[in-house]
């Protein structure tokens, strides 16, 4: 491995002087991160800051009969011990529903449990002390008596009449149900040569961000303002929610996001223990800090993916897929998570299943039920890993049934590249995708024929290797159709404000935020390119509701496509403003001028006319020398939101080559490939690394990660020794390729790339395992994670 420096890209339509579009420039924030000079919220301290620790319910479902805090209140360092009913006087409860998810229901959730705890780990009492250790010591002095209540843990029986209803006022344990029936499904199955049915299970897993959730709330009664330092993906969303539930005006709340140690969807939700922190700060009039410890993270960070899907596919002998049918059931814990709801993942499974294929017949039912386990909600690639695994698993089973190569079945049924715009059977709309080109590219990258030959040669030696594919689509650049139309105050648009400083450098304030994806670099690339300066002259400011334009933040693969376009347009607007000022100074026409490498030049000839520093000097310090009536405007703001399409779908295909040890059941990943089309690639290295990181996150769910609960709702493996995450030794090298189909909705043409890796990886590993084991007569493995024990059971060895 030799690291080669970034080189300018070949000319594109977006090329300008100082074009950074399409270049792998390093991120400006990496040096300080690599030197230990980052500032995560967990690193911060404030004057008079106190720490909170929570007493958490050891039961999945229990009534709080008695809570005596008198001993804890007298403990060393303790400032306050606060119960649920006490805190409910400061902060109001919330209900996680959205109007566009028809029929979704949930119950009010409190910052601290009031009378009853509904999952193991729910906070029931808060202890605030001068040090975290003192707060934890005092938690042990709280005398609490619980009456254990029956726990609802199995989604399969959650709706049975004899199962207790968790929230009696809701009538039943059904959170949300969606059905869909497109085309002529029964007729299509009847006219198929083969119909295959298979049930798929997806283990409940969680994000395990390396930095746990961290928050400091600082209520200052002197100015009646709340400043919240929070590791969040959506500062403006949290500003709205803190204000709403503390009964403050939004402008009384400032949310500041420093460096964030990983997010992946974990840090885009409302957590009861974080709402408690802001309420405690308001109550106690001083800064309060909470950093979840790892054990708390496992029982309170959102979980995801706990789905059981019964799938059915019809196919003709010529390989034509005739119909898909799914029945999805998922248990989401005792509350639908606020404000995005816990209905979205199942809704996405319905939307996305069968999505890559030109098959008009599709029937789906998804049911979301309550249970007494930790809450589930949106986590990286929401619904995609499930929909892709069900779809691609069924396609491979159908291909095997009719004896056709899995690649040939895909090529025959994928929506052709010249058939766009297109609408899937579920109703989702595609502007333009490139399934066939992507498939051809991955086959050539992996040398499919040679790999099949290697597989056969290994098989002859008694070594069982498998090749698996997964075509996928990914939702990116969401419009208001995602949350806004359902009533959530979550911005789909994003803004960027750029200004020229006194020396010719550019400040860009953006509504998108950074948790490691590289948004800071991408925004700087867009502004530098659009305006005409080198990147080291651009300073990006993000993650501060007092100082950035209103925006959504970074989630759903939206930062580059939406935030990047806003920054690009703002950079162009500022260029026009600066050129107007320069023209006024030079007594020239603005249309004859351009900005090249920080200098105003004659357009075309590039003859230097005046430096940006000189323009700034005159406009800021000697405006008296400008012509009468001319006012220089050296700040520009632009906003962007996708309008033509509800979502900018991307597509791609992944492939896995792996080896199964049929004696131990261990799976060795040999190599992984992904070809992905996210439209214009602003920074190739950052896109590739998003995909690689996403793939490994998907591989974790496919092979290792599983929140194991017993029938009483106790999490059995809530620590990093027992809950396995992917480590370097087990992970493969990954080769990434691209097909580029820009969206016409924006000038940049960039779509998102943050979730493609996670979307497809579990499916192609599943297909590769089954490809390895099929000749041995193994039953199809469709129950993730694919642990060695499950492999041996499929082989009939245990």
């Amino acid at each position: 491995m030799k690291i080669v420096s970034d080189l300018p890209s070949p000319l594109t339509a977006l090329d300008r002087p100082n074009s950074y579009i399409g270049r792998s420039v390093p991120r400006p924030n990496l040096k300080r991160l690599a030197q230990g000079r980052a500032q995560y919220v967990s690193d911060m301290t404030l004057p008079r800051m106190a720490h909170v620790a929570y007493l958490r319910s050891p039961h999945a479902h229990a009534r709080i009969v008695k809570l005596d805090k008198s001993k804890a209140e007298k403990a060393l360092g303790v400032i306050a011990v606060v119960t649920g009913p006490e805190l409910a006087k400061v902060i109001t409860p919330w209900v996680g529903v959205l109007t566009h998810l028809k029929g979704i229901k949930s119950a009010p959730q409190y910052a601290l449990a009031v009378d009853r705890a509904c999952w193991q780990g729910e906070a029931v009492c808060a202890v605030v002390a001068k040090a975290r250790a003192q707060a934890e010591d005092a938690c042990e002095l709280i005398e609490i008596v619980y009456e254990e209540l029956p726990a609802v843990t199995d989604p399969e029986t959650a709706l049975d009449p004899n199962t207790p209803v968790i929230h009696p006022e809701l009538g039943d344990n059904l959170t949300f149900e969606r059905t869909l029936d497109a085309g002529e499904v029964d007729k299509a199955f009847a006219e198929s040569d083969a119909v295959i049915e298979q049930t798929f299970h997806f283990g409940r897993h969680t994000g395990v961000t390396n930095e746990p959730r961290s928050i400091i709330a600082d209520w200052n009664p002197g100015e009646e303002r709340l400043t919240v330092y929070q590791g969040t993906q959506a500062p403006h969303m949290m500003q709205n929610l803190f204000a709403k539930h503390l009964d403050l005006a939004e402008h009384q709340v400032r949310v500041v996001t420093k460096d964030v140690g990983g997010s992946f969807g974990v840090k885009v939700h409302t957590y009861a223990d974080e709402m408690a922190v802001v309420a405690l700060s308001k109550m106690l009039k001083r800064p309060i800090k909470f950093v979840a410890d790892r054990l708390e993270s496992f029982v309170t960070d959102i979980h995801a993916r706990d789905h059981r899907v019964r799938g059915k596919i019809g196919i003709r002998k010529d390989g034509t897929i005739t119909a898909f049918e799914i029945d999805d059931l998922t248990g989401i814990g005792p509350y639908s998570v606020y404000p995005r709801t816990s209905g979205i993942e199942a809704n996405q499974v319905v939307n996305l299943t069968g999505g890559p294929y030109a098959c008009p017949n599709y029937r789906a039912r998804a049911r979301v039920v309550f249970q007494n386990k930790n809450v589930m909600c949106q986590y990286r690639a929401v619904g995609h890993p499930i929909a892709v695994a069900v779809t691609e698993g069924l396609v491979d089973l159908a291909a095997a049934k009719i004896g056709m190569d899995p690649v040939e079945v895909r090529k025959k049924n994928l929506i052709p590249d010249d058939a766009y715009p297109a609408t899937a059977a579920s109703g989702i709309k595609f502007e333009k995708l490139s399934h066939i080109a992507s498939t051809e590219k991955i086959l050539s990258m992996m040398d499919y024929k040679a790999l099949r030959a290697d597989q056969a040669a290994a098989r002859a030696r008694g070594v069982h290797r498998g090749i698996g594919f997964a075509s996928f689509i990914e939702v990116t650049n969401p419009s208001a159709a995602f949350y806004g139309v359902g009533g959530a105050k979550i911005s789909a648009q994003d803004g960027a404000t750029v200004r020229l400083d006194g020396k010719g450098a550019i400040f860009c304030h953006t509504g998108v935020s950074e948790q490691g994806q590289g948004a800071e670099a991408v925004i700087a690339q867009c502004v530098a390119s659009a305006f005409g300066v080198s990147m080291d002259k651009v300073r990006v400011i993000m993650g501060d509701t007092d100082n950035t334009p209103y925006g959504g933040g970074t989630w759903a693969s939206r930062a580059a496509g939406i935030g990047g376009e806003a920054a690009w347009q703002a950079g162009k607007a500022l260029r026009e403003n600066v050129l107007a000022a320069a023209a006024s100074i030079l007594q020239a026409q603005a249309s004859d001028l351009d900005i090249d490498n920080g200098i105003v030049v004659n357009k075309g000839t590039k003859t230097e006319r005046i430096s940006l520093e000189e323009v700034a000097r005159i406009c800021y310090f000697r405006p008296d020398t400008l012509p009468p009536g001319f006012q220089a405007e050296l700040v520009a703001t632009r906003h962007y939101v996708p309008r033509a399409w509800a979502f900018s779908f991307t597509n791609g295909i992944q492939a896995s080559y792996l080896e199964v040890d049929t004696d131990t059941g261990f799976i060795k990943l040999l190599k992984h490939w992904c070809v992905e089309d996210c439209g214009t690639v602003i920074n190739p290295q950052l896109v590739d690394e998003q995909i690689r990181g996403g793939i490994v996150q998907g591989l974790g769910g496919a092979l290792f990660e599983h929140c194991l609960y017993d029938e009483r709702g106790q999490l059995l493996n809530g620590n990093m020794a027992d809950y396995l995450v992917p480590m370097a030794m087990e992970m493969p090298d990954m080769q990434i390729g691209h097909v580029v189909t820009p969206t016409a909705d924006s000038e940049l043409g960039a779509k998102g790339a943050g979730e493609a890796g996670t979307a497809g990886a579990p499916a192609c590993v599943m297909n590769a395992i089954n490809d390895a084991l099929r000749p041995l007569g193994a039953k199809p493995l469709t129950d993730m994670p694919f642990t060695p024990g499950k492999v041996l059971r499929a082989l009939g060895k245990v």
Binding site: P26, L30, D137, N210, R294, L686, R692
Partner: protein
């Protein structure tokens, strides 16, 4: 119930004395008492490696060692090895190769990689993967980290 002890130790080349609670971990001492926040707390049970620091020349988990055990010891953190320039080439390679995203694992990952490279050999990709397999990174998928460490190993050995 708390017991405190006086210790003296050298941290990043500076000799200091401190009174520490017996139960306080080394990483909490470094972060809370010395404001050396470059060492991170990820799991507090020795699995994730985010708290990796060097004690007497060897990498240890700052969450599994108590501060009180460090009396007389020489402790080095990411801040120290950054200032001395000892790992400047590794940091540069991590930056150029985007071998960090959120950066939370990075200080520990760098110190662990430096230990592997300290023997002067050129490890294989599998050697690198095995050596860093006690350091959890959720962002990168490890490929870029392996690339960066491999590139530095080769460069240091003139390859």
């Amino acid at each position: 119930m708390t017991h405190a002890y006086d210790i003296s130790l050298t941290v990043n080349g500076e000799l200091l004395t401190a009174r520490v609670e017996a139960r306080k971990s080394l990483v909490d001492f470094l972060r809370d008492d010395l404001s050396l926040t470059g060492s991170h707390v990820g799991c507090e049970h020795g699995v994730c490696g985010a708290c990796t620091v060097r004690v007497n020349g060897q990498i240890v988990r700052g969450c599994l060692m108590l501060a009180v055990q460090c009396g007389g010891a020489t402790v080095e953190t990411i801040e120290g090895v950054s200032d001395t320039g000892e790992i400047a080439d590794l940091q540069d390679a991590f930056e150029k190769r985007n071998a960090l995203q959120c950066g939370f694992c990075t200080p520990g990952m760098l110190l662990t990689a430096q230990e592997l490279l300290a023997n002067g050999k050129t490890p294989s990709r599998d050697d690198i993967r095995e050596h860093i397999s006690g350091n959890y990174c959720r962002c990168t998928g490890y490929h870029a980290i392996v690339d960066a460490v491999e590139a530095v190993a080769q460069a240091r050995n003139g390859k």
